[in-house]
């Protein structure tokens, strides 16, 4: 656990540049970001604004051109490949739009895999996987192959897998991009749950429903953060007005 006040994730002046001269593209342009334990941050913005590139930088899947990146108080932007791979495996959970499950492995095996790769015993990995499948409401689907699961169920397996190493940070790239409204609700429920269990979560998304569950919402344009807001306040009294209930109570 981190000390109070030390952000799980910190980016300072993070940059990703492509090309040079006239063709220089600032895909990520001097981004500063702190994410605390238990905090959910959503990054929204038009296509091509750099939000996916940013997520790749934050997760150590891609190297920044400049700036600093810290995870749990440790600077990580200068780590070697092996150390970075280990860090990704142990400290960061990834959730992708296309789930990225292994088709030939069962739900439980998919969830266990990162724990086994991290050197856990088969028994302990299995126990952890079954705990997590229970938590995402799929205990009865543990032996199913991904092809036998709905989109929403696959994404829940992928979320369980992202949590298997108990990472400090979870990164999600359009996690509801391929899901219908009912499955989106299931994922929203899980994210609310993550929230209360202290994981730091950064979600890059177009989906306003998922963005609305975040504590903080960042709007990105042309590689830079242009607006940042806390989503708080309001009551169901206002909701009643949105449904046209005013006429009933007048």
């Amino acid at each position: 656990m981190n000390d109070v006040g030390v952000p799980v994730l910190r980016a300072c002046g993070l940059c990703k540049l492509y090309g040079k001269g006239e063709g220089l593209v600032r895909a990520v342009d001097e981004v500063d970001l702190d994410v605390a334990s238990g905090e959910t941050v959503a990054v929204m913005g038009p296509s091509g604004c750099g939000k996916s590139t940013l997520l790749h930088l934050l997760g150590g899947l891609d190297r920044p051109s400049g700036g600093e990146l810290w995870l749990g108080g440790e600077r990580i932007d200068q780590l070697g490949e092996r150390a970075l791979a280990r860090l990704r495996r142990d400290s960061i959970g990834f959730i992708f739009q296309a789930f990225h499950l292994m088709d030939e492995l069962t739900a439980a095996e998919n969830v266990e895999l990162p724990a086994l790769l991290a050197g856990r015993s088969a028994r302990s990995a299995r126990r952890r996987a079954s705990e997590l499948l229970e938590r995402v409401g799929l205990a009865d689907r543990a032996g199913h192959l991904p092809s036998a699961l709905s989109g929403g169920q696959r994404q829940r397996v992928a979320i369980a897998r992202a949590l298997v190493s108990n990472p400090q940070l979870v990164l999600a790239d359009e996690p509801t991009g391929n899901l219908d409204s009912q499955a989106t609700m299931e994922v929203l429920r899980l994210f609310e749950d993550l929230h209360s269990s202290g994981q730091a979560l950064v979600i890059v998304t177009h989906d306003s429903r998922i963005a609305a569950t975040a504590d903080r919402l960042i709007t990105m344009r042309d590689g830079a953060f242009v607006d940042e807001t806390r989503l708080t306040g309001g009551s169901t009294g206002t909701l009643g007005a949105l449904a046209g209930l005013n006429g009933l109570t007048e």
């Binding site: 429920r189 963005a211 569950t213 989503l231 306040g233 169901t236 009643g240």
Partner: protein, 177 residues
């Protein structure tokens, strides 16, 4: 719509005010919390005065002060049928916001994108509230369906704001003269 809603509920069967109140509560879930319960009785009294409903004293229960049972009159039945057939739908008021962006840009009084961002924040707060309420509803709840309607409308408005954002982003603005 207000009076017809209560009137139409009487079409199922003659009812006490408190029964109507309970049915409203079930249909509205958390959205009904802000409703004034006394309003049902006020509305029933008005409907009776207008000849759309009649009331009868019933034996009732000693713990219930309201022993009146309300029923539809023939005129009330007709009004309900008319109301069910009516095609009314709230019109979203988008023109004002649209003109606000144009006026701000034309007069150099404000950045349309900043106005879009502010509006988006407000809509996302509402969406957050609606989703919290939706997550709190059990599967198949009547109120859940109403909340879903709110969520979908807010999503539509947020998509329109994305379109506003695209159009008012500087490199596009040139194209629009």
């Amino acid at each position: 719509m207000q009076q017809e809603v209560i009137l139409a509920m009487l079409a199922k069967e003659p009812s006490h005010g408190y029964e109507l109140r309970a049915r409203l509560r079930q249909a509205l879930g958390p959205l009904g919390d802000a409703m004034n319960d006394g309003q049902v009785y006020v509305t029933l009294a008005r409907l009776e005065k207008a000849g759309l409903a009649t009331s009868e004293q019933s034996a009732g229960r000693p713990d219930r002060p309201d022993r009146k049972v309300y029923a539809l009159t023939a005129a009330g039945q007709q009004r309900v049928a008319g109301w069910l057939a009516e095609v009314g739908w709230p019109r979203p008021d988008l023109a004002e916001f649209h003109l606000k962006l144009i006026a701000a840009a034309a007069a150099g009084l404000g950045d349309p994108l900043a106005i879009v961002d502010t509006q988006r924040r407000e809509l996302l707060r509402r969406l957050r509230d609606a989703q919290r309420a939706a997550l709190g509803e059990p599967d198949g709840s009547q109120a859940g369906l109403l909340i879903e309607g709110i969520v979908l409308r807010l999503q539509a408005d947020l998509r329109w704001l994305e379109a506003c954002e695209r159009t008012w982003t500087p490199h596009h603005r040139k194209d629009h003269g």
